[in-house]
């Protein structure tokens, strides 16, 4: 959180985590939407009645107007706890709900996600889960909303999986798991992962993206057989990867960004290829082909860019992996100039110096952008005033003020974004940068 909070004595002890509209939800929300992201997993909420439906509006609709699927929204089984459960306990209700859900709802794995209420009233949720041991595939993700953010909910889901469901397996050479792309929180999760998966396939690496595919639970089961885990974020997926390393001995590497465009994607491919000791000649041949094709397409926008709007200043407000990837792409490949980058996902202190380095040393400009860690939407709004950026790549929270207050063109690239529909759009991978330039140019293009 930023250090420039202007709290006067009169306001009493400052609480830096009292925030306007932070750009995430709670641990339960993150665990729930991660479960919804894996086809075949049936989430079962042990919580108040609003925790599922609330996240339809607050996480899935906010993620590029996406519904949560057949088991999202009011489709999510839920104990819907009320006063008498607070008094008498929610355990019998949970037992009945698990039993009936397994009977009624199609699925390969049932994931109880428990929220604030059972934690506060001291329900022994694990004891109920144990009653089903050996009978049904069932895990418990303990994710009280007051215990963390939706980013942490993603990690909790995989930690519970490692602890309760997955078994050690022989390593399958040439396979990796892609971690750290958080369903719904990272807007382009579906398209970005699919694009990277197909690129890895070209160098003979089978990338398990876990989410979106029909064999989701099979994808979960083969997590332990990967030769390498790859976290595509300076901080997301690190806890999950650590859990898999401890339990299954899988080594892992982290990348400082979700790679956008050829330069970053090549760097990712080379790092993974090196760790897997792949045939260098093949890898370089694929890289050359992919780059050639991507830059051939860049020629199509070259005239418009150079004549129409070259060297534009831009600002970014986004989660860290998205912000680093997009800022570096625009700065290092398009010759746009970052004015300010606001990281709005509250990464842990330990991850921040590396993020700052990526956004300063890692961008090829004379004057480095101002880098700010800020999660409060009010302060973000103030921080963006009186600057000279022309593009604002941010959440749709910035849409209304972009023109009026900043005189900038706005484009939604980060959570929450209600103002565009995002299905399998991707900004990641070799051709992801092309898509980003396509979208940005479409904000201003006209006859030359």
């Amino acid at each position: 959180m930023s250090a420039h909070l202007s709290v006067t004595e009169e306001l009493g002890r400052p609480h830096l985590d009292v925030l306007e509209a932070p750009r995430w939800s709670c641990a339960l929300g993150g665990a729930l939407t991660t479960a919804l992201g894996v086809y075949g997993v049936v989430p079962i909420l042990h919580s108040g009645a609003g925790c599922g439906l609330g996240h339809q509006f607050g996480l899935t609709y906010a993620s590029g107007n996406n519904a949560g699927g057949a088991l999202g929204g009011t489709g999510t089984p839920c104990t819907c706890l009320v006063e008498e459960h607070v008094v008498f306990g929610g355990e019998p209700k949970l037992r009945n709900l698990i039993k009936s859900t397994i009977e009624l709802v199609k699925g390969d794995l049932f994931a109880v996600v428990s929220g604030c209420v059972p934690s506060l009233i001291g329900d022994d949720t694990d004891a109920i889960i144990r009653e089903f041991k050996g009978k049904s595939p069932l895990i418990h993700v303990k994710a009280p909303g007051f215990g963390g953010t939706s980013y942490q909910g993603y990690e909790l889901f995989f930690e519970a999986l490692a602890e309760q469901y997955l078994e050690p397996q022989p390593v399958k050479k040439g396979t990796i798991n892609l971690l750290g792309v958080v369903p719904f929180q990272h807007l382009f999760w579906k398209g970005n992962l699919a694009a990277l998966q197909s690129t890895f396939a070209k160098i003979g690496v089978e990338a398990n993206i876990i989410v979106t595919e029909f064999n989701g639970v099979e994808n979960l089961r083969r997590i332990p057989s990967a030769e390498l885990n790859v976290a595509l974020s300076p901080w997301n997926g690190h806890r999950a990867a650590t859990a898999f390393e401890q339990k299954f001995g899988t080594p892992w590497q982290a990348h400082p960004r979700l790679p956008v465009g050829p330069k970053q994607t090549t760097s990712l491919i080379r790092n993974v290829a090196q760790a897997l000791s792949l045939d260098k000649a093949l890898v370089e041949r694929v890289i050359a082909e992919e780059e050639r094709s991507a830059y051939r397409f860049a020629e199509y926008f070259g005239d418009g860019l150079v004549l129409g709007l070259p060297h534009a200043y831009f600002a970014v407000v986004a989660d860290s992996p998205t912000a680093v990837g997009i800022t570096q792409y625009l700065a290092n490949e398009i010759a746009y100039i970052p004015d300010i980058v606001i990281l709005a996902d509250d990464p842990p202190e330990s991850a921040r110096p590396a993020i700052i380095r990526e956004l300063t040393d890692g961008v090829d400009v004379v004057n480095k952008p101002e880098v700010v860690f800020e999660s409060d939407s009010y302060r973000i709004r103030q921080k963006l005033k009186n600057r000279n950026f022309l593009f604002l790549l941010a959440s749709s929270l910035e849409k209304i003020t972009a023109g009026e207050e900043y005189g900038a063109m706005h484009h939604s690239i980060a959570f929450p974004s209600y103002d565009r529909l995002i299905l399998d759009r991707n900004y990641a991978g070799y051709r992801g940068g092309l898509a980003l330039v396509e979208d940005l140019t479409s904000k201003w293009a006209g006859p030359l």
């Binding site: 009493g12 925030l19 750009r23 509006f57 009011t74 506060l120 007051f146 939706s150 849409k399």
Partner: protein
């Protein structure tokens, strides 16, 4: 109404309203004949039962005070809650912006909320100081006229002393603080949340009338009523020389403060407006009526007549109705004729709508009016506040099967599949409810929708809605393709057994007192 069950007086000396369960014997579980439902309600034997299978359906806060209250202009909201409870409000800056200022929305307005973001430490040690900080920070940042506090399960269970904090902070800030007790766990019925909001507004915000405004009509409208609904109501009241005071969504604080000065409180949804209407009459003598709602031609006539009674416009209203009928009734007759001939075999198009209990009463007569045949009803809940009117509906329109549940997707899918109506009107939150072989469309649009074709209220709405339903009849490719090409989440046995309440055991729920509700 003389045969209305005994509804207790409103007591503004208490922190909050009673739950709908206590105030009006509310339930959200029943399946059977409507006549049986009302008989049981009269006998006092209607009770809640504990579902063995249940789906997330919204709570007091998240259905949907969280997205309604932050639309109040020149106010701020403090969510005293973990961060997830307010995530549904993340659209706050964009709501209403799609409405062109030319259609009467203010050019400049600010909506804002903050969360106390309760964490593990707060749960152990309490968070009163954090709430106090949030209130004063909201004042410092936004200079609002009012600050609403919306509470959560967690704030309730850890025993936060809301009123204590309010008493401490109020003298130090200018904004009027309005605590709203909408802890999700306090009630099974989301309507309790609406009552809790009105309780807060009545107790803290509504002022003692300094003058009466004899041309002002309070109209409580919710997120299921669009901007065009407001314009239609404004148009009709305008022709009578009256002004609508739309609350609470997108109202200003002043609009809420002046509620006591109005000539009458009129409903769009009776059950939503109930607590406010009774409170305003009891405290300030503002008369009210709860039926009908202005949906359909006949209901709109009578809605206007009720308003006219309280504003001395009895003569003018008959002129207005005559004028409006000349314009709209011929169109309605065409829509009705078209619906009656649609099936070609002399039978009527059957319709099943999933509704709130207010819509059950407002929309069922409308379906009859346009020539549709309602074959059953699905309502979110049922309580004594709508008992007399439901009895009247049965008398006028005959008995019908009714499923009472709050957004239970599997139960609704079951009933829809079993009855197989020609036209299903639904809320598409439910994962699969829009996937149908026969006709299907949304039950309503939402508040930010400024399209004339989305109108449902008044005369223009009766026609627009009828035409909208006709359009849906001819356009079925999406729902049909989706039902064919995607997987249903429930096992086939669910649809092969006869009872949508398969997982509802007979015994009533336990209550804190140990007795059945």
């Amino acid at each position: 109404m003389s045969n209305e069950p005994n509804i207790p007086a409103i007591d503004l000396s208490t922190k909050t309203c009673p739950n709908r369960e206590q105030r009006a014997n509310g339930v959200n579980v029943f399946f059977g004949k409507a006549s049986d439902l009302v008989a049981k309600a009269r006998q006092g034997t209607l009770c809640n039962r504990e579902r063995e299978f249940q789906q997330s359906s919204g709570c007091l806060l998240n259905f949907y005070l969280s997205v309604r209250v932050p639309t109040i202009r020149d106010a701020a909201v403090v969510f005293h809650a973990p961060v997830g409870c307010s995530s549904s409000a993340l659209g706050y800056r964009e709501l209403y912006r799609g409405i062109p200022p030319g259609l009467g929305r203010p050019e400049r307005f600010e909506l804002q909320w903050i969360t106390t973001n309760l964490n593990e430490n707060d749960v152990v040690h309490g968070a009163s100081d954090k709430l106090a900080f949030a209130l004063r920070e909201a004042e410092r940042r936004y200079h609002p006229k009012a600050i609403f506090i919306l509470t959560s399960c967690t704030a309730g269970i850890i025993g936060e002393d809301l009123e204590g904090t309010v008493a401490e902070v109020q003298p130090r800030i200018n904004a009027k603080i309005v605590p709203v007790h909408c802890e999700g766990v306090r009630s099974r019925l989301v309507q309790t949340g609406y009552d809790a909001l009105w309780h807060g507004i009545l107790k803290y915000l509504v002022r003692k009338p300094t003058k009466k405004q004899p041309d002002l009509v309070n109209v409580a409208s919710m997120l299921s009523y669009t901007w065009q609904d407001r314009l239609e109501i404004k148009r009709l009241l305008g022709k009578l020389g009256l002004r609508a005071n739309f609350i609470p969504e997108f109202a200003s604080v002043e609009d809420l403060q002046q509620l006591s000065e109005a000539a009458v409180t009129a409903p769009l949804c009776s059950t939503y407006t109930d607590y406010l209407s009774r409170g305003l009459e009891q405290e300030y003598g503002v008369p009210f009526f709860l039926y009908p709602s202005p949906m359909g031609i006949e209901n709109t006539d009578n809605w206007l007549r009720e308003i006219a009674k309280h504003t001395g416009k009895e003569k003018e209203v008959e002129d207005l109705i005559r004028e409006e009928h000349a314009v709209w009734v011929p169109k309605m007759e065409k829509i009705r004729a078209e619906f009656l001939s649609l099936k070609g075999d002399g039978s009527q198009v059957s319709v099943l709508g999933a509704l709130g209990q207010g819509r059950l009463l407002a929309q069922t007569p409308y379906f009859h009016e346009i020539g549709l045949k309602p074959i059953a009803a699905i309502a979110q809940d049922f309580d004594n506040l709508v008992l007399a009117e439901t009895e009247q509906l049965i008398r006028e329109r005959g008995d019908f099967p009714i499923l009472i549940n709050t957004f239970q997707a599997a139960e609704q899918a079951h009933l829809t599949q079993t009855l197989d109506p020609d036209l299903t009107l639904t809320c598409p939150f439910q994962g699969t409810s829009y996937k149908r072989r026969k006709g299907m469309t949304r039950i309503h649009a939402l508040r930010g929708d400024a399209l004339p074709s989305s109108t449902q209220s008044g005369y223009a709405g009766a026609i627009a809605c009828g035409e909208f339903l006709l359009r849906s009849w001819k356009a079925k490719s999406f729902q049909q393709t989706m039902v064919e090409k995607t997987e249903d989440p429930y096992h086939q046995w669910w649809y092969e057994q006869p009872n949508p309440h398969h997982y509802v055991p007979d015994q009533p729920v336990r209550t804190e007192a140990g007795a059945a509700e």
